[in-house]
């Protein structure tokens, strides 16, 4: 807080200085503005051009309306009295020098004529006052610049710009900029300041909040009070948005974890096989996507938007077949020896990595995003990219499909039967070894599908899978072995917890904290959140 106070004092003294300078400047300006106006009455293009430049440079509050009127053909002059008038759109005649309605407008007013050369000069003059620029982007930037500079000399230009602005977004930015100026302008009326507080409150972002916190010390007490309460309200709101954003990032991370872990939930959770090569199945899926995109690029670029849709089933088949081959050639000899399975599959993961490294090279491979996955949209203060949104949807689709498969198909029924009671299932005529191979293939195939999605957000390199293997095991262990719902809850819990810890601890320490928390959690519930109960535990 002391820092804030210092800043306020500093700001106040700056403003005082600016006012002193401004007042002395105003006297000079008034003189030059009147002289400049008089030149309009000369009825010569040369003089008018000089007048435009002088008026624009004067900083007078009537400068903008005058130049506008000139541009619109509404600037009139009295040749005899050398006086200039503005004809408003309503037909009212204003005195250009004072901005007051002319008491007695002469009847024989003449239009200040302009030519193309002058039009350019006018535009240049307005360009200096970019708030009135014809380019909407420039107007927006100018409004934001004013919001930051809070220069009260821009007020007339702002008012003119607000009156003229038709783009709602820019108009709002202008009004907010005006509010910022008014709040810091010590001459502004209290009511105007209160209104400005309301405008800033409605803006409701970080900048508005810091604006309201840093009001000058000479602000009227009512304004200060209103500003503080508004700032607090914004702070509360921002905290909520911040939470929403963290939750969104957490959901996004959780869906990635879920994708990577869901296949493992089948092989490790349901079958009890420690497959350390699981990450390499994910990697195979990602490389399948790469190959599909390469083929499309060289043969039929028009299909590029469908490349991921084509890659999904292919990745499932590739990883699934590799999975079945692994099960038949290695894992089936190691059932009941989990530690040996772990070592053998670790060796397998080394081989698969090195094989991919040999075929595709050790560097990252480029996998493009189809057009429907790029871009983003905003909800309130939240920025949502389509890519992340699609991955979350895709994850949930895969999850539901897998649940449905296990629940409603014959293969799913047989899988559940074999994992629950192998002998009984065999006695019922289920070929258990075939089911083992298919279950393992299913888990691996889903890992391959995960690879398609992960190719969109991660580097496709031979090490892709290694980054996920420990996290995936954590998810399955945390969620509870043998339970897909546990995996779902575990993945999203870990994802969200990770993102909420990150702002406090940083990405790496956040990750370490999560690992420590899981180790502690396993103390409490050694079998995970959704542990199987009853007979199934020891089976």
């Amino acid at each position: 807080m002391p820092k804030l106070n210092e800043m306020r004092v500093f700001n106040a003294s700056l403003i005082a200085l600016a006012l002193v300078l401004g007042l002395s400047a105003a006297v000079v300006h008034a003189q030059s503005f009147d002289d400049a106006l008089a030149k309009f009455a000369a009825d010569s293009y040369g003089d008018t051009e000089e007048a435009v430049a002088a008026v624009a440079a004067s900083g007078n509050e009537m400068a903008v309306p005058v130049i506008f009127a000139l541009q619109d053909g509404r600037l009139l002059f009295d040749a005899k009295a050398k006086k200039i008038f503005i004809k408003e759109l309503s037909g009212r005649i204003l005195d250009a020098a004072s901005g007051q309605p002319a008491a007695a407008a002469p009847a024989d007013l003449e239009l200040v004529r302009i030519n193309n050369r002058l039009r350019r000069a006018i535009e240049a003059a307005l360009g200096a006052l970019t708030l009135l620029s014809p380019d909407p982007q420039k107007r927006l930037e100018a409004a934001q610049a004013v919001f930051k500079s809070r220069d009260e000399k821009t007020l007339p230009a702002l008012d003119a710009a607000i009156a003229r602005e038709t783009n709602a977004k820019i108009k709002r930015a202008l009004i907010e900029a005006r509010a910022a100026v008014v709040l810091f302008w010590s001459d502004a009326a209290e009511a105007a300041k209160l209104e400005a507080v309301g405008v800033s409150r409605a803006r409701g972002d970080q900048e508005a909040m810091s604006l309201l916190w840093s009001l000058p010390a000479d602000a009227p007490p009512t304004v200060s009070r209103a500003a503080v309460s508004a700032a607090k309200a914004i702070q509360g709101q921002l905290e909520i948005w911040n939470g929403v954003q963290n939750a969104w990032y957490g959901l996004s991370l959780g869906s990635v974890l879920l994708l990577a872990a869901i296949g493992l939930a089948i092989t490790f959770g349901v079958m009890g096989i420690i497959n350390m090569a699981h990450g390499e199945m994910v990697m195979l899926g990602a490389y399948t996507t790469f190959v599909v995109q390469e083929l499309i690029r060289t043969h039929n670029p028009a299909l590029f938007d469908y490349s991921l849709l084509i890659a999904v089933p292919l990745a499932f088949i590739v990883a699934g077949c590799v999975g079945i081959a692994i099960e038949r050639s290695i894992i089936r000899f190691l059932y009941g020896r989990p530690l040996e399975t772990l070592l053998a599959t670790w060796g397998l993961s080394l081989i698969l990595q090195q094989a991919v490294r040999t075929i595709f090279g050790p560097t990252n491979r480029e996998v493009g995003a189809p057009s429907w996955m790029s871009g983003a949209f905003e909800v309130g203060q939240l920025n949502i990219t389509y890519g992340r949104l699609w991955i979350i949807c895709f994850t949930l689709i895969v999850f539901v499909a897998l649940l449905g498969m296990l629940r409603f198909t014959r293969l799913g029924l047989e899988m559940r039967a074999v994992t629950q009671n192998r002998q009984m299932a065999a006695a019922m005529g289920i070929r258990t070894s075939r089911i083992d191979a298919l279950t393992f293939g299913l888990g691996s195939g889903i890992a391959g599908i995960a690879g398609v999605a992960l190719s969109q957000i991660d580097n496709v390199s031979p090490n892709l899978g290694q980054g996920y293997i420990i996290d995936s095991f954590m998810v399955v262990v945390f969620g509870g072995v043998g339970n897909l719902w546990g995996t779902l809850v575990g993945a999203f819990t870990l994802g969200i917890a990770n993102k909420f810890l990150e702002p406090y601890a940083g990405a790496v320490l956040g990750k370490i904290a999560i690992l420590v928390l899981i180790v502690l959690f396993i103390q409490k519930r050694p079998r995970g959140m959704f542990a199987l109960k009853g007979r199934a535990v020891e089976a």
Binding site: L334, L342, G347, L350, V477, P526
Partner: protein, 381 residues
């Protein structure tokens, strides 16, 4: 009875191992220092350092075999204890550099000066004393193992769960040590060592001395392990390995047994790491990589788990193969071979080299040491 434990401890295989190790410790320095470098019998200093490294790996493998082969605890995070011991030694060696560093700061190591650290962090205090560093080499890995094991064994985290948790532990430590603000040199780790206990580290004599010290440490570790596995305590460990629940029902406090042996094993791994660092001249966070720990497990599997001598043999064989293949034109194929080794050993040679030999000897009716039969991890399968 009082003389018997010693005899039981030093059976024929153990004596043979110790003799071989002793011969190795004498022969290598002799061939390095006494035989002129032109001679065909000369052992180059490079090889001395290499063998010294292998001996340290052997000690690490021994520590893993003690818990995996005899107590059934498969730790995939023993590289972490190894690296922690290494870091403790590295910190001592960093403090020894003193004003000879690039920035010539008498107290702060170079990387701290580089990162604008104003003063030495508290946990670096005392590492200028070798005695303190030696204590930390044993204490830090031991303490971590004790706390970790206490939590894990108390809540009966066993089997693959324990393996995965230990892997996560070393992974978390790796992430931490990679950070600069942890105060251990970040990415680059600790290196550029000058001397140890006042002796220049770059001399041939020092390399040979380190090799001999490593051999002594390995012999001591071997004797400790033999003493444990041939004692009644060791029999309980084997019982826990073969049926933890039954042992518990017989009234043994399984957690205490496991915790003791796990902590001891971590201390041994720490010593191995501490001896490793001066011989390779660097310690960095990649030593914590989960892959390293798993590779150490495969040394044990290759040599034969539950045989002790096999663990050391496995460490030698696999690492010699690694050095041989990664230095030649076959380098791109080394990972294929290592991966294949993992699969082949688990599928075809589950007892490992020494274990298979003993099994073969047992089957051919030769007189067989009773302790060996009990110690074989496959007796119950």
């Amino acid at each position: 009875m009082s003389a018997f434990p010693f005899i039981r401890m030093l059976d024929r295989g153990a004596v043979l191992f110790l003799l071989l190790l002793g011969g190795f410790a004498v022969a290598i320095p002799a061939f390095n220092l006494l035989v002129p470098s032109g001679s065909a019998l000369h052992v180059s200093t490079y090889l001395v350092a290499l063998f010294g490294k292998y001996i340290c790996y052997g000690l690490l493998a021994l520590s893993i075999d003690l818990i995996w082969g005899y107590a059934g605890i498969l730790s995939l995070g023993h590289g972490a204890f190894f690296a922690l011991g290494g870091y403790a030694m590295g910190m001592y060696l960093m403090r020894q550099i003193g004003t000879r560093g690039v920035y010539a700061n008498p107290i702060l190591p170079d990387f701290m000066v580089f990162l604008n650290w104003p003063e030495l962090p508290l946990y670096w205090y005392g590492f200028n004393s070798f005695a303190y560093a030696a204590l930390m080499i044993v204490l830090v890995p031991g303490l971590l193992a004790f706390v970790f094991g206490w939590f894990a064994f108390r809540s009966r985290v066993t089997g693959v769960y324990l393996s995965i948790i230990t892997q996560a532990m070393t992974y978390a430590l790796m992430l931490g040590f990679f950070r600069n603000n942890f105060g251990f040199g970040g990415n680059n780790g600790l290196t550029d060592f000058k001397e140890i206990l006042g002796f220049n580290m770059q001399t041939e004599a020092m390399r040979n001395a380190l090799l001999v010290i490593s051999c002594l440490a390995l012999a001591a570790g071997f004797l400790i392990c033999r003493a444990i596995v041939t004692s009644k305590f060791g029999k309980v460990l084997v019982a826990i390995r073969d049926s933890e629940a039954r042992t518990r029902f017989l009234g043994y406090r399984v957690e205490a047994y496991k915790l003791f042996v796990f902590t001891l094993s971590a201390c041994m791994a720490g010593v191995a790491g501490a001896l490793y660092v001066p011989q390779v001249g660097i310690i960095n966070p990649s030593e914590f990589a989960p892959g390293n720990s798993i590779e150490a497990v495969i040394w044990v599997a290759v040599g034969g788990r539950g045989t002790l001598t096999g663990a050391v043999l496995g460490a030698f064989v696999v690492n010699y193969a690694k050095t041989f293949f990664t230095s030649g034109i076959l380098a791109p194929y080394w990972l294929f071979m290592l991966g294949g080794l993992f699969i082949a050993v688990t599928l075809l040679l589950p007892r490992g080299i020494i274990g298979s030999y003993e099994h073969w000897r047992g089957q051919h009716g030769e007189k067989h040491d009773a302790a060996m039969r009990v110690a074989s991890p496959h007796a119950a399968e």
